[in-house]
Symmetry: C2
Subunit: 397 residues, 2 copies
């Protein structure tokens, strides 16, 4: 028998398998290398190129000129080449955070071939790394009980299609007989049902907050807010299409109107506490706009509402009932169905800051109670992760 | 009220949001462009570089010299630059298949910045595209009912840790009261519980085969076969470590011995038909080795066994009982617990071809019945996807 099993030496197996299976192999370069002192070294083996830069949100922002005005863009830094043809740059000491970056090689933006960790944000894929400590430890997978993350398809009779959801159920859900509260978490323009679980680190944040006793165990349902779309790019029968910021049927009422289809699916397929006091809705940017409108159009559904950098803006061109008599709807929501928590958060450099300020002025004028949370910076995932870590502990208590 | 909602024009929102949120934006170049005739054009905007090549499994293989011998490696083709600084190459007519590729820019391997679709294979991330037709239509998301894909954590008392599984439940599972058969599907060396769902296209293949009535609805459980590892790289508390081909405790019996922990979890958390006739196990390469050993060590557990390019090789250094008296164990499996199907598949250019031939000779000599399926080519995902599409329809009938 030994003869049968000894034809191939283990070493040969490893090498040949690597050559045939993984095809192009990984680089031997370590990049990024996070040092003890929270500086980070980036490396790229590229002996034959002229310039290598790194760009990302770990660098100070720099002004970016566009035809539509000047915006803060990510900074860049130059790498320098050593004798082995390895380009290298070491950052300053970085604050705890999940950071994104890409290299620019002779003008071409490329991913770091030594770092397999990448996250798509709409039509861009960038490498990521985490500097631990403080709040950023919530973004890590830690040695705590983990929830389940499922991609499920629900029926939306209102939209006339099956659509994809990302659903987080907390650790212990499968072994419990309890019913759980549900938090509906909505993405921004160009995003989809993958956005919050990927860049938002929802599973890690909830696992950690629940393990620390800071949030109650809850189900988190991440929807696709583009009402014409069945699923995230690549996950529907449209195939491997290029993702686009501009989707039809995103801010004209269809998604908001059809939201009970999601709630019905979740309440009939998960052990939920199917009542207002155990239901929350929040979203970033367009998802904040959706959360505002869904919560006033269905005022008896949600006791917790979160507007993260919400896109407070006109919806003039739609005659959808969701947008009719918004002041009347808000009165019904705030006076007759007073939410336990109406939470508005925005960065003070956000281009939607002024619009949110005026929306708060309206609420103030009417005497409608809300909680306001302001951070620095603008319309960025760093802020939305912060808002999730602040908002989730306030729910269902 | 209109005043409140009209501060920000929609256009400004789109542009500014793009600038702030998606940060680096997508390229405007279309690549890859799959034409009607199944040729494919690859493009890269890179006015300031000297050479651009594309390499991938859509090109004829070329010999690759390594210190361990000569192997077939992926071919390369040169792109040519137009006046706008866009490099371009159009392929020959390609056969239906899921293909992987990368660019090589002045010697640096990079992902295509115009293509967000990438799949990790161990330590490498490559872009992918699909040429439809024939069997490759099974690899696409089609307009058919979709199953649920969940990442769940199970308890393995034998290995002393919580470990991660990828579980596919077929369309209709949630709305049914039926019990389902279970197919355990195992990855190769360097892989993990993400391999089959990503490069293997398991969810798409099963969705399509079930919709066509070619496979019965079944649960597919994709395990992590590295017994020292809790989860795929990036999904455990080890953080964003570089993936490695060489993991401890992969082929020394620990994973095989602990396999009942997986079965116990699945049978107690899903509506399964918990008996031999409704249980299958198969794996590729190291996963084929695992499937062979698990199925003879637990001979009353699986009626269907699939060895895909199985790593038939010695396990001399382990004194694990899984590897003791293998001939005796095979006799118990084949004579006393005769499997309904013992299926061996391999490519005729696989470096494990000879080892599999000798294993079959042993089975022949003993009179143990098996089914043999031979393809061309070697130790590659193309073959493993083919084997899955051939094997799944044979199960539980």
């Amino acid at each position: 028998m030994k003869k049968i099993f000894s034809l191939v030496a283990a070493l040969t197996f490893c090498v040949a398998s690597f050559a045939q299976q993984a095809l192009w192999g990984g680089s031997q370069i370590v990049s990024p290398e996070v040092h003890e002192d929270n500086t980070v070294t980036f490396r790229l083996l590229a002996p034959d190129v002229t310039t290598v830069q790194v760009t990302g949100d770990f660098l100070p922002t720099q002004k970016m000129e566009t035809p539509f005005g000047t915006f803060d863009g990510p900074g860049t830094a130059d790498l320098t080449k050593n004798e082995q043809g390895v380009w290298e740059y070491t950052s300053d000491v970085l604050a705890p955070e999940l950071y994104s970056y890409t290299f620019i090689v002779d003008g071409v933006k490329i991913n770091d071939p030594s770092n397999v960790y990448m996250i798509r944000d709409v039509a861009s894929v960038t490498n990521v790394f985490i500097i631990g400590g403080d709040r950023a430890d919530l973004y890590k997978v830690n040695d705590v009980p983990h929830g389940t993350v499922a991609r499920v398809w629900y029926d939306s009779p209102t939209l006339g299609m099956k659509r994809r959801l990302t659903v987080y159920t907390p650790a212990g859900y499968e072994d419990s007989k309890d019913n759980y509260p549900v938090f509906y978490l909505l993405h921004g323009m160009g995003g989809d049902e993958e956005a919050w679980i990927a860049l938002g680190r929802t599973a890690q944040i909830l696992d950690n907050l629940i393990a620390q006793g800071k949030a109650v165990p809850m189900i988190v349902v991440m929807t696709n807010g583009n009402a014409a779309q069945e699923a995230a790019p690549g996950e529907s029968s449209l195939g491997f299409q290029a993702p686009s910021m501009q989707q039809p049927k995103t801010m004209e009422g269809s998604f908001e109107l059809a939201f009970p289809d999601v709630i019905n699916y979740v309440d009939s397929h998960y052990r939920t506490i199917a009542k207002k006091s155990s239901r929350a809705i929040a979203g970033l940017s367009m998802g904040g706009y959706h959360s505002m409108h869904i919560s006033h159009y269905y005022p008896d559904k949600f006791d917790y509402v979160g507007l993260y950098s919400a896109a407070i803006m006109p919806s003039n061109e739609s005659d959808c009932p969701v947008y009719k008599d918004i002041e009347g709807q808000l009165k019904t929501q705030f006076v007759d169905n007073t939410p336990a928590l109406y939470w508005i958060a925005i960065g003070n450099a956000d281009f939607l800051y002024e619009a949110n300020t005026q929306y708060r002025a309206l609420l103030d004028q009417k005497g409608y109670k809300y909680t306001y949370y302001e951070t620095g910076e603008g319309h960025i995932w760093k802020n939305w992760r912060i808002y999730l870590t602040e908002f989730a502990p306030l729910l269902f208590k």
